[in-house]
Amino acid sequence: MKRRDFLKTTGVASVTMLLPNFLKALEFSPSLTGHKKLVIIQLSGGNDGLNTVIPYENDIYYKNRPTIGIGKNEVLKITDELGLHPSMKGMEKLFEKGYVSILNNIGYPNPNRSHFRAMDIWHTASDSNKYLDSGWLGRYLDSNCQSSHEVLEIDTTLSLALKGDAKNALALKNPNSLYQLTKEHYFDSLIRNTSDEMLSEDNLGYLYKTLVETKSSAKYIFNTSKTYESKTEFPKTDIGQKLETTAELINSGLDTSVYYISTSGFDTHVFQEKQQEKLLGNYSDAMLSFVEELKKGNNFKDTLIVTFSEFGRRLSENGSRGTDHGTAGPMFVISENLKKNGIFNEAPDLINLDGNKDIKYHLDFRQVYATVLDKWLEVDSSKILNSNFQHLNFI
């Protein structure tokens, strides 16, 4: 039995008990998770799926989008019915290499068209009429990880998806800023003088514990990643920079298993053409650099990248050369050895729409989560998602 497997079966509690000193436990305990990395990318605002993966042979598409529809000659054709947005040349390259699986019509029953509520549903993995205050990756952290840095968000604040019931993930814009903050004299004194007895389960103990953990994680991340610098040029965009940081952390050998990145601006009610072109171009260029850099570090084979948006947009364009909030949309899954690459399932059905004239979902997003948790991170998804969802065989 491998050490990691042993730890996995015996669980978190027993390992913690073996190590008497709380700080020691933090600094020396091995990670309980495998070497597989999961990178989640959130496109905030509701990306227009129909102008991302374009059904260029479908007349209904062009009829409903007389001004913003993307012409058959412009799309980057990837099958005889679907093409990518013209700005996504990077993604086209990855697609040609067989690294991409496009999951169409992802959604959930009784969809909600409000940004914040829809995002809540994606983050907590709840039914649309239930309210949870912990996120799916937070619950993954709760049941399968020891330290908060095993799930990282590359940002200044922490999203709901990464907040557990018992633990919270760590958010950092870059390894240096958080480390420097915890090194400030005041923080340092607070943390250095904190004794084990103070780290009780009550609320004040929890604050001190969070501080000590933050310091310990920040130090570990900084020291592990400081020697590594990416060998690939990344675009100087928001998502480009975030993915560069992520690639450096992965390639430096950090024991983090989940990275979370979001980029915004996809709420294209007005004049969406230029805006979406820029955003999808940024996304696709950054992704190409990211894959290239991971390959240089020999980590691409162990990395799975999943991209989602809280909803797709309405089939018909609105009166201001834009689109309004819709329902189901596509997800991109990127990795080196996908079981099923290319177009995973049938293109959106533009005839049988729901009562709001929106696309009906075919696959539940929690099936994607369950697949990723069980088959990639190799943990028990039913505990995290509070239900059993049927797997999809893309990995």
Binding site: N129, N168, L190
Partner: protein, 450 residues
């Protein structure tokens, strides 16, 4: 009343201790202090802001639409800032504390500031009155009729959203009703709408006047009857008592305390003032496990700082940014379930920000702390701070209010729980002036507790 009890009451019935309170009430009984609290700090001061909110913006041409959206965003920030100021300055802190509780309970998001203001004023008006009146008034508010789609709830196409949340989140709580109950309740609320003046109306042709069966009772119920039936059920009192306990008493549930609150609420026919008076007079409310053990919400934390230091901001949006970063923006609850509480507020980012924020606001970004032997100039650097968050403190007011305070008095005033050994260490080493001492104290993890 004892010092620690007065401090506890100020924390929970308001937004932190008041410099003069110990001297003023040291010889007054608890009952009397609570009576004074309700007599003096509960004035109803509604918002009276005027908004120029563009209508039908979808119809506008591009440039005008952009302007209109900017106007709407500005009006939301204007209302938000007014609320932050009210919390910081109002003498009616008890009414404001209770209003904030209901503001989270009846969570509602809207981009229409006039409606958000109206809902907030309604909540403030009934905050200390009768819970029945409060629920009914909220159910008739345009913001809520919009938010939970009751506007679309018609006899021919019932929309169940409001009926479901009324039960799940506003009154009786989850798992205490059937899907059939929801459908029947939805029928009772059909046609509830509002007119152009923002006044409640029942659109008769959309209302379902037929017989409904709800919670085993049958009749030609309308929305008011549904609320009455829900409140007749003691589980509603228990649900509200649980939330009150979490907000006013402890992040962790205590079943016997919750039952005691529920009994008073139910037996007083949902009289909120009577229930709160009962809590604030109860011996268990002042028990050690309930004092200084709650984690402040971001708004409680920020409001406490504002009240102690009279902070004014160079950039009006600063408080909006801070609320966002700390994870609680007034008028923008995460969803209809309202804000979470306790440990849920804390992660490494929000905690480090909480500890860093006082120094950013009070001291240009540097926490004035050093140990003996350190070179002062190296440690107390004048950090550049965050330009967006640049603020000014009314130190004169603070110095005057605390003029005869010793170091121990200052700790008593600002910190509720016993200091941890770490914090004690830090406080012993302090040989800074009062301003800097105060800044260090409010940068401690202990300051996060109330």
């Amino acid at each position: 009343m004892k010092k620690i009890e007065l401090k506890h009451l100020c924390n929970r019935a308001g937004f932190g201790s008041i410099p003069t309170i110990f001297e003023k009430y040291k010889n007054t009984s608890r009952k009397e202090v609570v009576t004074i609290l309700f007599a003096k700090h509960t004035a109803n001061e509604p918002f009276q802001l005027n908004f120029d909110i563009p209508q039908n913006i979808q119809m506008l041409p591009k440039e005008e639409k952009k302007k209109a959206i900017r106007k709407i965003t500005k009006s939301i920030q204007k209302l938000n800032f007014a609320y932050i100021q009210k919390l910081a300055n109002s003498d009616a802190f008890l009414r404001e504390k209770v209003t904030l509780f209901w503001h989270g309970h009846f969570a509602c998001r809207t981009r229409k500031s006039d409606k958000a203001q109206q809902l907030n004023n309604t909540i403030r008006k009934y905050a200390l009155g009768n819970f029945r009146d409060l629920v009914l008034a909220v159910a008739k508010e345009p913001a809520m009729l919009d938010f939970l789609n009751n506007k679309q709830n018609r006899k021919s196409h019932p929309n169940e959203n409001f009926a479901r949340e009324l039960m799940e989140l506003f009154t009786i709580g989850r798992d205490n009703y059937t899907e059939k109950d929801i459908q029947e309740a939805a029928r009772a609320f059909t046609g509830w709408n509002y007119n152009k003046q923002g006044e409640f109306v029942i659109r008769r042709k959309f209302h379902d006047y037929g017989e409904k069966t709800f919670f085993g009772k049958t009749g030609n119920f309308d929305g008011t009857d549904i609320i009455d039936i829900l409140l007749e059920d003691k589980r509603t009192a228990k649900f509200i008592a649980t939330k009150m306990h979490r907000y006013f008493v402890n992040d962790y549930d205590n079943p016997s305390e919750i039952d005691a609150i529920a009994n008073v609420l139910y037996n007083s026919d949902y009289n909120i003032t009577e229930t709160l008076k009962y809590i604030f007079n109860a011996d268990w409310f002042y028990a050690t496990e309930n004092v200084g053990t709650k984690i402040k919400s971001p708004i409680e934390f920020l409001t406490g700082l504002h009240r102690t230091f009279s902070i004014s901001y160079q950039n009006k949006n600063a408080t909006f940014i801070i609320q966002k970063m700390l994870g609680q923006v007034l008028f923008l609850p995460p969803n209809v379930a309202g804000w979470p509480s306790g440990k849920k507020w804390i992660d490494s980012s929000s905690l480090t920000l909480r500890l860093k924020l006082p120094s950013i606001l009070l001291n240009n970004g540097a926490i004035p702390f050093y140990e003996k032997g350190d070179d002062v100039d190296n440690v107390v650097r004048r950090g550049k701070g965050n330009r967006k968050l640049r603020a000014e403190t009314n130190w004169e007011g603070f110095m005057e209010a605390t003029s005869d305070f010793t170091q121990a008095d200052l700790i008593d005033y600002l910190i509720t729980p016993d200091l941890s050994p770490t914090a004690k260490n830090i406080c012993q080493d302090l040989s800074l002036d009062k301003k800097q001492n105060a800044t260090v104290l409010v940068s401690l993890p202990e300051y996060q507790m109330c």
